[in-house]
C-alpha cells in the first residue's frame, strides 16, 4: 500500500484495500491542493487556528447539545480533553469557569474514594485519571487540595487484582488501560507503593504480542492505545526493560503510513488520535533507548528550506515521502551516553522518582518516527479551520480527537529537544513558529509546568 493509489477501486480489492484506497485518495487530494497553493496560502493552511479552537473548546466546556448523552458517563473525560487542549494552546480559563470545573469534578468524587463519570456514578479508574489530570492542569491549591488522596488510594487498592492487573470499576473489566490509569494517578498523587505496583509488570508483559506492540488483554491484537498505556505503565514502575523494546519500536514505527499519520493497528486506517498514542510511544522509547542517532549539534544548520520544500513538493504521496528524506537528522554518534543514559535495573526501586528520572533523561536518539510529516497530517488533514480536530478527512470533529491531535502535535514539536522543556529549533515546528504548543509530560499527558507544580504540591 506504499504506492500511490490506483485511479479507481477494483472489484478484486478486499475490504481493507478498498477502505485504504478511499482514505489515500482523500488525503492525496488534500496534499495536492496544498502543493498547488501559493506560499502565503500554504503557510496559512499550516497555521494552528488558535482562536477557532479556543472558541470550540470553551463553548463545549460550558454546555453541550443533547447528542452528548452518549458521553454522560464520561463527563470528566470531556473536562480533561477540553482543559488539556486549552492548556496546550496556552489559553488560561477564566477564574469563574475554573471554579465551576473544580466544583463539578468534586461532585463526581465518590464518598468512598475515586471519581465517577458524573455525580452519583460509581467510581471508575479512567474517569479518576481524567479528573486528576484535569485538576493538575488547572493547578493551584484549591484545585489540587480538592482531591482526597487517601480515599483515592483506597479505591485503587480495591480495584487491584491478585493477577497484578486492575479492574476499571467494581465488577468492571480488567485490562491495560486500567493498569495505566491506576498507576498514572498513583504516581501523580505520590501514593504509588509496592502493593499497587505488585505484579503489574507481569500483566503488561503478558499483553505484549508476537507483533511487538501491546494488546488490551493477553491474546488480543497489538494496538496503539494499549501500547502507550502499557509502555508508560512499565516506565512508571521502573520495569520497561522487561519488555522486548526492539520489537516494540519496530512495530510502532511501521504504524506511520503513507498518509503521514499513524494507524492504531497493522493494516488499519490512519487516525489523528494515534498521533499521540503512537507518537507518544515513540517519544517514550526515544528516552529509553541506550544509544543511537541525534540531530547534529549544529545550531539550526538544517535550514527551514528543506522542510518547506518537502511540504510544498507534496504533489503526490510517494513523491512527498521521498522529499521528506532530506529533512531527516544526520547521524551523530558522539553523544552516546553523554547524559542520563539508561538506568541500570536496580533492585532498590524508588517508585516516587521514576517520573523525574525519566523526564531528566535526554532523548539521545532524535526522532525515531517522522515527526515532521506527522505534524503535516495533523494540521492539514485533521484540523478544521472552524475549530477542532478530527480522526481523518470525512469525519467530524470531537473533543477526544482535538485533545489527542494537539497532544500528538506537542509530542512532535518537542521530539528532538534535548530536554523536556527546552524550546525546539524553528525547523522542528511545522508551520509558523507561533504554532508552538506548551510541552507535556509524556507519561501522563499533562502540561509540563502544571505537572511540576502538582509534583511539588503532593511531595509535601
Amino acid at each position: 500500500m506504499e504506492a500511490s493509489p490506483s485511479p479507481s477501486p477494483s472489484s478484486m480489492m478486499t475490504v481493507t484495500e478498498r477502505d485504504q484506497w478511499m482514505v489515500e485518495r482523500e488525503v492525496g487530494r488534500i496534499y495536492l491542493l496544498f502543493a498547488e497553493l501559493p506560499p502565503a496560502a500554504q503557510s496559512f493552511s499550516l497555521e494552528i487556528q488558535r482562536d477557532s479552537h479556543i472558541e470550540y473548546l470553551t463553548n463545549g466546556l460550558r454546555r453541550l447539545p443533547p447528542s452528548f448523552v452518549s458521553l454522560d458517563a464520561s463527563r470528566p473525560w470531556l473536562c480533561y480533553w477540553i482543559i488539556h487542549s486549552l492548556a496546550l494552546l496556552g489559553e488560561p480559563l477564566d477564574a469563574e469557569l475554573e471554579d465551576n470545573v473544580i466544583d463539578f469534578l468534586s461532585r463526581c468524587q465518590d464518598p468512598s474514594g475515586g471519581y465517577g463519570g458524573g455525580p452519583g456514578q460509581l467510581p471508575h479508574l479512567a474517569t479518576t485519571y481524567a479528573v486528576v489530570n484535569s485538576l493538575i492542569t488547572l493547578g493551584g491549591s484549591r484545585s489540587l487540595s480538592s482531591i482526597n488522596r487517601d480515599k483515592v488510594y483506597n479505591f485503587l487498592r480495591q480495584m487491584k487484582q491478585p493477577s497484578g492487573g486492575f479492574r476499571m470499576h467494581d465488577g468492571g473489566e480488567i485490562d491495560v488501560r486500567a493498569c495505566y490509569t491506576a498507576i498514572s494517578v498513583a504516581s501523580n498523587l505520590n501514593i504509588l507503593d509496592d502493593e499497587l505496583a505488585e505484579n503489574v509488570g507481569d500483566f503488561i508483559l503478558s499483553c505484549q504480542t508476537y507483533e511487538g506492540g501491546i494488546a488490551g488483554e493477553p491474546g488480543s491484537e497489538a494496538h496503539g492505545g494499549y501500547t502507550f498505556c502499557g509502555l508508560a505503565t512499565m516506565i512508571l514502575i521502573n520495569e520497561a526493560d522487561r519488555l522486548d523494546l526492539s520489537r516494540l519500536i519496530d512495530w510502532v514505527v511501521f504504524r506511520q503510513g503513507v498518509e503521514c499519520g499513524f494507524q492504531g493497528r497493522a493494516n488499519k486506517l490512519v487516525d489523528g488520535c494515534y498521533s499521540f498514542w503512537q507518537g507518544g510511544t515513540c517519544a517514550l522509547l526515544q528516552k529509553l533507548l541506550p544509544f543511537g542517532v541525534s540531530e547534529g549539534q549544529g545550531e539550526g544548520d538544517e535550514s527551514t528550506d528543506s522542510i518547506d520544500s518537502s511540504l510544498s513538493a507534496a504533489s503526490n504521496l510517494s513523491e512527498q515521502e521521498n522529499d521528506l528524506k532530506s529533512a531527516s537528522p544526520q547521524v551523530d554518534e558522539t553523544c552516546q551516553f553523554k547524559h542520563g543514559g539508561p538506568q541500570s535495573a536496580s533492585c532498590s526501586v524508588n517508585l516516587g522518582n521514576a517520573n523525574d528520572n525519566f523526564l531528566e533523561r535526554r532523548s539521545v536518539v532524535g526522532s525515531l518516527f517522522n515527526d515532521l510529516t506527522l505534524q503535516q497530517y495533523i494540521l492539514l488533514c485533521s484540523q478544521l479551520p472552524e475549530g477542532g480536530f478530527r480522526d481523518k478527512p470525512g469525519k467530524s470533529r470531537d473533543f477526544y480527537h482535538t485533545c489527542y491531535c494537539l497532544s500528538g502535535l506537542a509530542v512532535c514539536q518537542y521530539s528532538r529537544s534535548k530536554h523536556a522543556n527546552s524550546p525546539p529549533l524553528p525547523w522542528a515546528v511545522v508551520g509558523p513558529y507561533f504554532n508552538l504548543l506548551e510541552p507535556i509530560h509524556p507519561l501522563h499527558n499533562v502540561e509540563l509546568s502544571k505537572y511540576q507544580e502538582a509534583n511539588e504540591f503532593f511531595a509535601r
Binding site: A73, R107, G120, I249, V253, N267, G292, N370
Partner: protein, 336 residues
C-alpha cells in the same frame, strides 16, 4: 412506553405509570453552575432521575430491571447502570438467555462499547459451556459487519478459553483470511489458535505448516505486513530455529529478485543478520543489486547489514530515521 432506541414511540412519563407511583425521582446533583452540561431531553432526565432513586436505595426489583433497560437504551456506555443491572439480575435469579437477546439488540446500535461486551462476558460465564456456540455465532455476525471489531475479538478469545468451541476456529481464520488477507485481526486470531488451541498440540506441532501458510501469503502480496509479522512470531523466542529455517531467506530472496515491494523482505533479512545469519552469495548479490550509489561497498556481513539499512532509508523514507538508528546499533555479531 419506549423500549429501546430503535423503537421510540411517544414518551409516556414514568411518573404517570402505576408501577413507579411510589418512587420519588432523584435529580442529578450537578451543582449551581455545572460544566460540560449536557442539554438532556426530558425523557432522558426523567429516566435517570428514576434510575438514581432506585439505585440509591439498592432496590433489586423487576421495575429496577426495567429502568436499567430504559437507561441503557439512551446511553449504553453508563457502566453504573450496567453494574446495577447485574445486581438486579442476580437478585431476581433472572433467565439470562433473555439477557443475550438484550445485549444483541444493544449491539445493533453500537457494537464498540466496553460495557456491552463486559456484560455479555458476565452473562456467558454464568451460562457456562452451553453458551459457547451462541457466543461464537454472535461474534461471527459482528465480524460480518466489521471484521476487525476489537471488543468482539477479545470476547471470542475469552469464549474459546473459558467455554470451549475450538473445533472450527482454524477454519474460521482461513475463511476470514481468504476474504481479506490484509485483516490483521484474523492473523492475530490465527496466532492465538495455533498457540492456545488444545486440539492442535501447541505452536511447535503446527509451526512447519504455518510457516508455509505465511510464506504463501507473502508470495501473493509481499507488501502485506501481517504475514511477515506472523512468520516472525512463529519463532518468537527461538532465534536458533528462526535462523535455521531456510524457507525464510528463500522467501525473502524471491521478493528481492522481483525488485519491488521488498521493504519487509529486507527488514526480515536485517533481523536475521543481526542474529548471526550467514547469507549465501545469491542473497548478497540480490541485496547488492538494490543498492543506491551512496550505500557503500558490500564486503563483510556487517557491511551487508549496513547496506540494507541504507537501502531501506532510501526506499522507506517515512522511517529514514529509524533505519539510520538501526544502522548505528548493529550488534557486534554482524560486524565480523
Amino acid at each position: 412506553m419506549a423500549s429501546s432506541g430503535e423503537d421510540r414511540r411517544a414518551w409516556v412519563p414514568l411518573g404517570s405509570l402505576p408501577e413507579f407511583a411510589d418512587v420519588t425521582p432523584l435529580p442529578q446533583d450537578d451543582g449551581p453552575s455545572p460544566v460540560v452540561a449536557i442539554a438532556y431531553r426530558d425523557e432522558f432526565r426523567e429516566t435517570m432521575d428514576y434510575f438514581r432513586s432506585l439505585y440509591s436505595s439498592r432496590e433489586l426489583s423487576p421495575r429496577s430491571l426495567l429502568i436499567t433497560t430504559l437507561a441503557i437504551s439512551f446511553n449504553p456506555a453508563n457502566y453504573t447502570v450496567w453494574q446495577f443491572r447485574r445486581q438486579v439480575l442476580e437478585a431476581l435469579d433472572a433467565d439470562l438467555t433473555d439477557e443475550l437477546d438484550f445485549t444483541e439488540r444493544v449491539a445493533k446500535g453500537n457494537a464498540k462499547n466496553y460495557q456491552l461486551w463486559h456484560h455479555r462476558r458476565w452473562v456467558a460465564e454464568k451460562l457456562g459451556s452451553d453458551a459457547a456456540y451462541r457466543e461464537l455465532e454472535f461474534t461471527r455476525k459482528i465480524f460480518y459487519l466489521d471484521a476487525k471489531n476489537y471488543h468482539a475479538w477479545s470476547h471470542r478469545q475469552w469464549v474459546l478459553q473459558a467455554l470451549g468451541g475450538w473445533e472450527n476456529e482454524l477454519d474460521y481464520c482461513v475463511q476470514l483470511l481468504e476474504e481479506d488477507v490484509l485483516n490483521n485481526s484474523a492473523w492475530n486470531q490465527r496466532y492465538f489458535v495455533v498457540t492456545k488451541s488444545p486440539l492442535l498440540g501447541g505452536l511447535k506441532a503446527v509451526r512447519d505448516s504455518e510457516v508455509d501458510y505465511a510464506i504463501e501469503a507473502i508470495n501473493m502480496n509481499p507488501q502485506n505486513e501481517s504475514p511477515w509479522r506472523y512468520l516472525r512470531g512463529l519463532y518468537n523466542d527461538e532465534n536458533d530455529a528462526w535462523l535455521n529455517d531456510s524457507r525464510v531467506p528463500s522467501a525473502c530472496l524471491r521478493v528481492l529478485k522481483a525488485k519491488r515491494n521488498f521493504k519487509f523482505a529486507l527488514s526480515t533479512l536485517l533481523d536475521l543478520l543481526c542474529l548471526g545469519f550467514k547469507p549465501n552469495q545469491e542473497i548478497r548479490d540480490a541485496i547488492t543489486s538494490l543498492r543506491t550509489p551512496d550505500s557503500g561497498e558490500v564486503g563483510s556481513d556487517s557491511d551487508l547489514a549496513k547496506s540494507i539499512c541504507s537501502i531501506l532509508g532510501h526506499e522507506d523514507p517515512m522511517r529514514a530515521n529509524y533505519w539510520t538508528w538501526r544502522s548505528s546499533k548493529l550488534p557486534q555479531a554482524a560486524e565480523v
